[in-house]
Structure formats: structure tokens, C-alpha cells
Symmetry: C2
Subunit: 196 residues, 2 copies
């Protein structure tokens, strides 16, 4: 039974290696090298561990870490969608759900169910853990873009209001982090790396 589980788990472990090839639009800090989804997921997991004290609500940190570790795995099949791309739907696309079922479905049945539920909880963004996980997911590219002279904001001509409208959701996860982020956004306007 344990060995049967392990064989399925190894198949999943091999499959998710593909996340290392999915390039994001956002670049590494002080860099023009695009970040890939595996690096991004590691960084969010570190951020969740380091920043947990700032969550508004009490959170199960392991649950948040699991969420950010797996949140982009669907992109192995469905690809990365740029957050400011207005031509595409970002949430719960049929394509992403099919991807989640295929990839998590490689795992033993109960584990597959748990991972699918965790990914859906993240996507829905309603629980304390999902809110904090999403705050991490919004915070990392903000830090990267401000370290990169505007980064993707400059590259894709994204104006202040669009950035603000996406980032303000961070407030639901952490007031402290949102206050810091809002200052960074305002400073970016003052520095001329984000257009108002």
C-alpha cells in the first residue's frame, strides 16, 4: 500500500519538474532575467514563513505554505497569464481546472482530493489562509518591479490605477504589509517609474 502510494507520488514529483520551465513576465530582483514558476513558488513559501506574524487573522502556516507551493502547478498545462493582461480571464478557467485534475490526479486518490481542494481554496481567496497566500503572491512582484526601475509596469505600460486596483486586495491578508506596499506604490509614482 505504502509502495503503491510512493510509485504514484514519484510520478507526480517528476511531472511537477516542468514548473521550472514556465516563465513569468516578472524579472528577478535587480535583474532582467525572468523568474520561473518554481523559483516564484519557493520565494512565496519563504515569504509566508517569514511574514506570518503580519496576517490579520490567525492562520495555519503549513496550509499557507502548501498553497503557495502548489498554486501555479496548473500552469504546467495552462500556461502563465500576465496579471495585467485584460484579454484573459485569471480565475478558475476551465483549462486550469482540467490541468489541476490531471496533475494532482497523479497522486494517490485521497492526496489528489486534498491538493485539488487546497488549490480551489486558494483560487477562491475567501479563507484566512487563501487571503494571506494571495497577499504574498501580490507582494513579491511589487518588490521586484520597484527594484527593477518599474519592471513589468514600465515594460507593458501599466498605469498606477491598474496596479493599485490589483494590489489593494493585499489589505485583506495584512494591513501592515498593505501599508508598506501602498507606500512603495506612491514612491514609485514620485520616482516616475509608475505613471499616474
Amino acid at each position: 500500500m505504502k509502495t503503491e502510494d510512493l510509485i504514484k507520488q514519484v510520478a507526480f514529483i517528476k511531472e511537477i519538474d516542468k514548473l521550472k520551465y514556465i516563465q513569468r513576465k516578472t524579472k528577478l530582483f535587480n535583474s532582467d532575467r525572468p523568474e520561473n514558476d518554481a523559483e516564484h513558488s519557493w520565494h512565496l513559501a519563504m515569504m509566508a514563513v517569514v511574514l506570518a506574524e503580519h496576517s490579520i487573522q490567525a492562520i495555519d502556516i503549513l496550509k499557507v505554505v502548501k498553497m503557495v507551493l502548489i498554486h501555479d502547478i496548473v500552469e504546467i498545462d495552462a500556461g502563465d497569464v500576465f496579471i495585467y493582461d485584460t484579454t484573459k480571464n485569471h480565475h478558475n478557467t476551465e483549462e486550469e481546472l482540467i490541468a489541476a485534475k490531471r496533475i494532482f490526479g497523479l497522486l494517490p486518490e485521497n492526496q489528489a482530493k486534498d491538493f485539488l481542494a487546497l488549490w480551489e481554496e486558494f483560487e477562491a481567496g475567501e479563507t484566512a489562509e487563501a487571503k494571506f497566500a494571495k497577499t504574498m503572491d501580490r507582494f513579491e512582484p511589487l518588490l521586484q518591479n520597484t527594484s527593477n526601475n518599474g519592471g513589468t509596469w514600465a515594460e507593458y505600460d501599466v498605469p498606477y490605477q491598474k496596479v493599485y486596483d490589483k494590489k489593494v486586495a493585499m489589505k485583506a491578508g495584512s494591513e501592515t504589509i498593505w501599508n508598506y506596499a501602498e507606500n512603495l506604490i506612491n514612491e514609485s509614482v514620485e520616482k516616475g517609474i509608475l505613471k499616474k
Copy 2:
């Protein structure tokens, strides 16, 4: 107080981005592209979550995940040492300890202490969590090398006995995973991708 913490935490979050530039000798699955330490750490965290049921002893999964997320951060200053390089010491080098103190030292004081202690616990390899974390760290490159026609074993002419002697430590974390790994090693000899 919270904002003071956050400023230090953000400095740490920016600093650890450098882990994405540290190349390992081991290549991605079915690939000749070297893996970097951030990708490796993400993969180990996923493996710890997925494979936890196979631990011999009861483990605190969050602790294991934290360990594997941070275990290579010292390499930002100290560099990656190839496991089969016999000219270098792999454990608790003075250089790594200095690196740990500098990098974790960017965090608020109590958090810095916790992270340093966690890294030292991993390095010592004596607790149930450290043993399981180390089993993950041994298992991933074994899966990669067998998917890569011998990978670094072939590239650096590493013989069966050396591989066996390094990998057998996995047994202390999980009998089930070790049995699977031992079979993979034996199969590799049969296939001629590992020399006896």
C-alpha cells in the same frame, strides 16, 4: 514594532533572491539544464509535503518544510559543494556558519535565532525532522540522475559504492523510500548507467 520587523524581513526577502543564481551540478529531469538552489528547495518542499506519510518517525511537517526551504541559503555566500567532491568538507564549515549568521541575521533578532537553529538542526541531522529532510535532499538527485542516463554519476565518473554510501543515510528517514531508492540504484547498475 511590526513595521520595524517588516523592513528587516523585506531586506532578507530581497537578499535570498540570490539563491536563484546558485547552480547545482545536478540537472533537471530528462534535461541537461542545471538546477538552481531555489528550484531545488521548492522541489524538496513539495516532496516533503507529498511523502510525509513515509517518515519512520512522527514528524512536524511544517518544520521539515521550513528546513528544506532554507537549507541551501548559506550557499549564497559559501557556494554549492558537489556531494561527491572529496576535496571539500560538506558539513558545518566555518564559511557556511558565517554565511548563516550574516543572512539570517538580516531578520528580526528572534526570527534570526530561530532560522539559525533550524539550519543547524538540519545540518546535524539528528532529529526526526532533520533525518526526513535529508532523505528528501538525497532522493531528488537520485531521481534526476536516473532520468538523465546516469547524470552526474556518469559526468563525474562516480562509482556505485560511493553513491550507495551517500544514499544509505536515507534509511534513517524512511524505510519505504530507501527500499525504492535502493532498487533504483541496483537497476542503474543493471542498465549500465552506474558502474560497479
